[in-house]
């Protein structure tokens, strides 16, 4: 009792003293102020109420304590410092030290005093959050989570921080050094340690995923508990160490013994929890390694194809029991001596039977190797039953990911969320095909070729039994009876998904498709928000589906489309074998609970804010119309065309890119419907998928990606492919969006090749039918090759070897663009002619479209009758889709140029073109999209009935034979000086800046202080149309062009101005489609590029020339005539300017005769 009294007394007055310290007051007042405003701003009815935070009630305590915890972890360091500072002034504390209390009581009292002070502050801030939670009508309240997060964040962080601070103060005894060490540790956690070694260093839970679902609660309660206890115990151990080395003579042997015991118990506890935390990570990586190694053993073996599967599943709390009856066929050319299946390694196979007889089988980790009763001949069928039970091993599902938490980060706002591949609890179950919860006749990962995939189209029948009150959701027609649920097949599927939970459902049948929304009881908030849409919903849904079908040139292949609400922690990793994420399954989309992370899902809030905005702008719109708009936005942004922005940074580079929304319905139109496979080119399915599902973003970057200076996806891919072949790149398993953009470019190239020879319309029509005929079937690429050859007489297969294994890229040069206005059949038409050559040793394909004059602006023109719905749609922010998908309606012509071939291209168009846009697809050209503005149009009024689009092979190549000397910034004669501006600290830690990127575009901010190469179609260059630019400086970083003069004489010197005289469309995120207003391109840069200062070195000395870039003409501008003798000529551009930027491109010396 005396312990409680003494420690309580110390705690009480320590708390009083700290509470009255100016530092704590400042922190507390600041925190109260900030958090009150943050809570009001985010959660109150007058706040923003972002749906991703509003949808799940535990977010309020989570975000409050997450942020507060970071502040506290730092503040506690300063407050704990007081511990030593005051104790060092011996006379002050000696009056207390001579009192009858033990050191244990004193230190514990101090610790508790500080903890309770922070707890008090946290509770006050939580109360503010709770108040907002109560008054915000859109949110439910999860009161338990308020306590849970207090235990997760506050207690372990403060105990650990205090313990560490106390001990360091006692040992180091130098306040300044201790501060530095402690702040360093805090900073290290936030910037470097949190994602390493599976969170074992993350003492403030900075990156620990602790998001709590409203459906299943914490998905990783064990992991959270162990990780937090690790720091709680470590903190206690540090506090006990402080007790033992405390500079006061001890008085109680009992308390000293307790402190020693607690020290050892805490160390043991911390070691155990640390081991558990770390071993989960190690265990996961070992599982992945094992899976990969096992797969390696089997990747060259033949697997059967499962045509039918009937699965009985019993959901038994945290495990399952199942029997799978499988009908298989041998589609291989050789007989099968054994049947191979993959099954999640945590599921134990109990028995395998066929025709009532037990079959022998071997288990190798997750591979079941079954000896059949007899050899299965090619084309023969067999059936067998596999009975198994157990749990699911998550690491198995994604064998090729890293353990680093930072890779593939899953965040809601700033909060890390777990990346669960399945759920298996007493109240909830979610198993996707990726978990291999039933025997699958393929490998989940092919180590020697990660892009490979084997797809079976199987008819699944599923019978499910689970606890009372739980409802099963899966593909197929559902029948429920007293025994459970039965799902009978409606169409063959590539995989089966099962979810069991407290599901309710709403059904809507439109046209031939049944739409089902499976929501967790109580989560159907949207019904209230979109009540008015009830009667128009069928029309809206039907419209969206029709648009999708048009866009993908095929009908929706399934009878149902279900949205299934799943816990927010469900996450799919990107894979190399497919761009389809596991959120989208055949006929099912797994959406996060309460649609929390989906774009535009907060209908109520959006309705209010849009209504207000419209009222401000005097726009009149009915509530219903507005809700229709919101609904359409929601559907398009998530299921049709949305993108997510990814910020990625590793030690070597930083990157920002967009990837398609993972909920897009595209896979329903190819990946889950058709399959093309090739043993020689295993990437073929991924390439078809990328092209046919429109996964590559065409055209230059828009929105803030362009402001960051990001390159277009095509350019990014072509730069990657400069040094390595497609197959080499795949083997490297690169991070980020590399695979996606490369697949996109390669896919577009392949399909453009096919169309170039078969004809755009004819190929599209034929291919559409081909896919329909082969719906739910796997097609060997050799069969496709033969069928295509038979139809069009063109064999694409010989091109594939270089396409897949070749390192070389084609390169295109274009020149001599002429446009004549001619009369054909009494109609005025335009004949466009230009010269194109491919001087490289590999064949190349490019496509051509026009930007034309027309009503409403200068949108790209499409071929008549071919215009369809763009999957991006108006308002998606992506205006171009040249050469992509089956409905690339804007392409006039696709041209194949064999190695070293040159052609004169002639095209006839009805509308007056303003520019010719060439997409060079896979090539050395950067930027890959070349905009050739049309200058003067020559009118030929003669009737020319026999003119048509044509390609004529010519022998000449386009070379500069004029004798002019041109030095471009890509040439050896150009120098941008030495760049040594990296800070020593940055170099020490290996931090690099954006200079690691080869090319960029001129950005809006973060303008480099060094000469950064940038690309734009209007710049000068052979393949790479580049220039270099930097922020205007003091003139100490000039760039130089030098050339060898062979013939002395007078030379006119020109500098290249990479300005386009074209007008370009403003693309905005909203309504930036055709018809948007235009501004001259130059005007945007007007204020940024002004006076440039050149120095020309000539025989009479150096001439300084001020060049008015702002008002200069595009392309070559004469800066003077000088006499140059036989020597090296030199032109220097200073980085000094009154404008913001300086840009340098090419310099030309033209001899004056």
């Amino acid at each position: 009792m005396s312990f409680l009294h003494n420690a309580g007394t110390v705690a009480k007055y320590e708390a009083v003293i700290l509470r009255r310290s100016w530092f704590f007051r400042l922190f507390a007042v600041g925190a109260l102020f900030i958090f009150t405003f943050m809570n009001i701003g985010l959660f109150s009815p007058v706040g923003d109420q972002p749906w991703e935070l509003m949808s799940i009630p535990s977010t309020i305590p989570l975000i409050n304590l997450y942020l507060l915890n970071i502040g506290q972890a730092i503040v506690v360091i300063f407050l704990a410092a007081d511990f030593l500072r005051r104790d060092k002034k011996l006379d002050t504390n000696e009056v207390l030290y001579t009192r009858s209390m033990s050191n244990f009581e004193y230190v514990m009292g101090k610790t508790w005093g500080i903890i309770r002070l922070f707890l008090g502050l946290d509770i006050i801030i939580l109360c503010i959050g709770l108040l907002m939670n109560i008054i915000s009508k859109n949110m439910s309240i999860d009161i338990l989570s308020y306590f849970e997060y207090l235990l997760i964040f506050t207690i372990p962080t403060i105990v650990f921080s205090l313990g560490l601070a106390f001990l360091l103060m006692s040992v180091i005894k130098n306040q300044a050094i201790t501060f530095l060490v402690l702040l360093g540790i805090a900073a290290l956690d936030m910037f470097w340690l949190w994602y390493r070694a599976g969170s074992v260093f993350d003492y403030m839970a900075f990156g620990l995923p602790v998001y709590k679902s409203g459906v299943i609660g914490f998905d990783n309660a064990g992991a959270i508990i162990f990780q937090r206890l690790l720091f709680f115990f470590s903190g206690i151990a540090l506090v006990m160490s402080t007790v033992l080395i405390f500079k006061r003579l001890p008085q109680s042997k009992v308390h000293t013994s307790i402190a020693v015991a607690l020290l050892f118990i805490s160390i043991a506890g911390a070691a155990f929890c640390g081991f558990r935390t770390y071993s989960t990570l190690i265990g996961n990586s070992e599982t992945r390694k094992r899976v990969t190694e096992t797969n390696r053993l089997f990747e060259n073996r033949n697997f059967p194809v499962v045509t039918e599967a009937s699965i009985d599943l019993i959901h038994k709390g945290e495990s399952v029991e199942a029997g799978a009856y499988l009908k298989i066929i041998n589609n291989n050319s050789e007989p099968l001596n054994s049947y191979l299946f993959s099954l999640n390694p945590s599921l134990i196979v109990n028995k395998i039977t066929a025709q009532g007889m037990d079959l022998e089988f071997k288990i190798n980790n997750h591979i079941i190797e079954i000896r059949p009763l007899s050899v299965l001949l090619p084309g023969s069928y067999d059936s067998l039953k596999i009975e198994y039970s157990g749990k699911i091993n998550e690491a198995y599902c994604v064998p090729d990911i890293s353990n680093n938490l930072k890779d593939n980060i899953n965040r809601i706002a700033m909060l890390n969320v777990s990346k669960r591949q399945f759920f298996l609890t007493g109240n909830y179950l979610l198993l996707t095909p990726e978990t291999h919860w039933y025997p699958v006749a393929s490998l989940n990962y092919y180590p020697s070729n990660p892009a490979r995939i084997k797809i079976d189209f199987t008819k699944y029948t599923l019978r499910v039994r689970s606890a009372k009150g739980l409802v099963a959701v899966s593909q197929g027609k559902r029948i429920s009876d007293s025994d459970g649920f039965t799902f009978t097949p409606e169409s063959p599927l590539t995989g089966l998904t099962i979810a069991i939970g407290k599901y309710r459902s709403d059904t809507l049948k439109v046209d031939s498709v049944t739409y089902i929304v499976n929501y967790i009881a109580g989560n159907d908030y949207y019904k209230k928000d979109l009540t008015e849409l009830k009667d128009t919903l069928p029309n809206l849904v039907s419209g969206i589906m029709r648009d999708l079908e048009t866009s993908f040139s095929s009908r929706y292949p399934f009878k149902t489309l279900s949205l299934v609400e799943v816990p927010v922690q469900f996450y799919s990793y990107s894979r190399q074998s497919t761009q389809t994420r596991s959120e989208v399954q055949p006929s099912i989309i797994l959406v996060p609970e309460k649609l929390s992370t989906l774009e535009n899902a907060g209908f109520g809030t959006r309705f209010k804010s849009q209504k207000k905005r419209m009222a401000r702008n005097n726009q009149v719109i009915t509530d219903k119309e507005l809700k229709i708009r919101l609904f359409n936005d929601f559907m398009r942004e998530n299921f049709i065309s949305g993108t997510n922005t990814i910020f990625a940074r590793d030690n070597r580079s930083e990157d920002i890119y967009t990837e398609p929304s993972r909920y897009r319905l595209g896979p329903s139109f190819y990946f889950y419907r058709n399959n093309f496979y090739s043993s020689e080119f295993p990437v073929i399915n991924a390439v078809f998928e990328s092209h046919l599902q429109h996964l590559l973003q065409q055209g230059p970057r828009t929105g803030y990606l362009s402001m960051f200076g990001s390159l277009s996806e095509i350019d990014k891919a072509n730069l990657i492919l400069r040094t390595k072949s497609f197959s080499e790149l795949l083997a490297e398993n690169p991070k980020g969006d590399t695979i996606r953009v490369v697949l996109g470019v390669k896919g577009d190239w392949l399909f453009n090749l096919l169309r170039s020879e078969a004809g755009i319309e004819d190929f599209n029509k034929w291919f559409r039918k081909y896919c329909e005929d082969n719906e739910f079937r796997s097609v060997d690429i050799m069969k496709f090759r033969n069928d295509l050859k038979e139809r069009f007489g063109f064999d694409f297969y010989p091109y594939l070897d270089k396409w897949f294994n070749g390192r070389q890229q084609p390169g295109f040069m274009f020149s001599g663009l002429k446009v004549n206005e001619i009369v054909v059949d009494e109609r005025s038409r335009y004949q466009v002619t230009f010269f194109a050559s491919n001087p490289e040793a590999v064949p190349g394909v490019f496509n051509i479209s026009f930007r034309g004059e027309g009503p409403g602006g200068s949108g790209r023109q499409g071929r008549p009758g071919a215009a369809g719905f763009s999957p991006e749609g108006p308002g998606s922010g992506q205006a171009f889709m040249q050469g992509r998908g089956m409905e690339a309606s804007d392409i006039e012509k696709i041209v194949l140029l064999e190695p070293l071939e040159s052609k004169i291209i002639t095209l006839i168009t009805d509308r007056q073109p303003r520019a010719v846009i060439i997409n060079t697809l896979f090539s050395r050209n950067i930027p890959g999209e070349i905009n050739m503005p049309v200058g003067d149009i020559i009118r030929t009024r003669r009737n020319q009935n026999n003119v048509s689009s044509a390609e004529k092979i010519v022998s000449s190549s386009d070379t500069n034979d004029s004798g002019d000397i041109i030095v471009d910034n890509e040439d050896p004669g150009f120098s941008s000086g030495i760049e040594t501006i990296e800070a020593p600290l940055k170099r020490l830690f290996g931090i690099t800046n954006r200079r690691s990127k080869t090319y960029m575009q001129v950005g809006q901010w973060n303008i480099p202080e060094y000469w950064q190469p940038v690309v734009q179609t209007s710049y000068y260059g052979k393949y790479v149309r580049s220039a270099v630019y930097k922020r205007a400086g003091s003139g100490d970083r000039p760039i130089t062009w030098t050339a060898k003069i062979n013939v002395p004489g007078y030379y006119d010197i020109y500098c290249y101005v990479g300005k386009s005289n074209d007008r370009r469309r403003i693309r905005t995120d909203r309504g930036g489609g055709p018809g948007a207003p235009v501004v001259p391109e130059g005007e945007q840069e007007e204020s940024r590029f002004k006076d440039f200062h050149y120095k020309v070195y000539h025989d009479d000395g150096i001439e300084e020339i001020t060049f008015d870039y702002e008002n200069a003409e595009p392309e070559w501008n004469n800066i003077g005539r000088f006499y140059l003798s036989k020597d090296t000529a030199k032109v220097v551009l200073s980085d000094q300017s009154s404008g913001r930027l300086v840009i340098g491109d090419a310099v030309k010396w033209v001899r004056v005769e």
């Binding site: 007055y13 009083v16 011996l90 000696e94 009056v95 009858s100 003579l249």
Partner: protein, 297 residues
């Protein structure tokens, strides 16, 4: 109740021998520790109040070794350190409450009553809600003594309590201590101000450079100086001679010269009259003459 100090030595890591074989016995009442700065008073006190462990020797309280029974000793101890500055964030009463609570007063009501009683006793009741940084120097010392007294300690150790106090405060302080000394408590008063001892202490020790050079009653100390303190009236010229030759205790200017008081083993010239020494005279005599002789021996 008694404190026995046996063979106490304190040697600091820097080699400073702060206490040299100290043997003392203290009974109830007030005991004065006198000595110049650096004599070892504070070291001795810090050992007695268990802030420090002696290099050797023991301190026994009623026969119990305080190093082995720290809990017991600290339970009956009140301590006022030399440079007492307490947490400025606390109010006067709060600090006393803190001390009282740690002194074992668990009942809050009784504790608060005691706090107020003590505040009244030291004349701080009016400022009970005032924060420490708003108290004057004297008030702070009074609060210091109040905290040393809370919880009815049986041993009170006060280190240089009157330093920096004005005469009124000092008298008031002495009175508080002498009142306390009537109870069955041991008060150890360490000071280099001799006057603090004379009026109140029944026993005293004189420390010099770690040695115990005198242990006895103040009267004994005074007695040793009897016949060695002289007063004389001197002309300025004579004064210069006397100043060179003798230890001058006090000098008062008078008409045509100075009235000077000196200590000396023999009767000096210059019309000197022996006077009855007080304790200060005795201290000077002792330190300057007895001790010199002792060192020479």
């Amino acid at each position: 109740m008694k404190i026995e100090i046996c063979g106490l030595n304190q040697i600091y890591p820097n080699g400073n021998h702060a206490l040299k074989d100290i043997n003392l016995e203290l009974g109830t009442g007030m005991f004065g520790l006198l000595g110049p700065n650096g004599a070892g008073k504070s070291s001795l006190m810090r050992i007695i109040v268990t802030l420090m462990k002696p290099t050797s020797g023991v301190v026994l309280v009623d026969g119990l070794d305080i190093q082995k029974h720290r809990e017991k000793l600290r339970g009956i101890l009140g301590y006022l350190p030399q440079d007492f500055r307490f947490f400025t964030a606390l109010k006067t009463w709060e600090f006393l409450d803190y001390s009282g609570s740690l002194a074992g007063m668990k009942n809050r009501k009784e504790r608060i009553a005691e706090v107020d009683r003590l505040l009244d006793q030291v004349g701080l009741l009016e400022v009970r809600d005032r924060k420490a940084n708003k108290l004057s120097g004297g008030m702070k010392r009074r609060l210091g003594i109040a905290q040393a007294l809370i919880g009815n300690p049986r041993i009170i150790v006060v280190d240089e309590p009157t330093t920096g106090l004005d005469p009124d405060e000092r008298i008031r302080f002495r009175n508080i201590l002498s009142q306390l000394s009537r109870n069955d408590v041991i008060i150890i008063l360490s000071t280099h101000i001799v006057g603090d001892i004379s009026s109140t202490c029944h026993g005293m020790a004189l420390l010099n450079k770690g040695d115990l050079v005198f242990n006895g009653s103040p009267e004994n100390l005074v007695k040793q100086a009897e016949g060695h303190v002289f007063r004389m009236n001197l002309s300025p010229h004579e004064y210069d001679i006397v100043k060179e030759k003798y230890n001058v205790i006090s000098t008062v200017p008078v008409e045509n010269g100075w009235e000077v008081q000196i200590v000396s083993d023999e009767t000096p010239e210059f019309r000197a009259t022996a006077v009855i020494p007080n304790i200060e005279d005795a201290y000077v005599y002792y330190m300057e003459h007895k001790l010199q002789a002792y060192i020479i021996d």
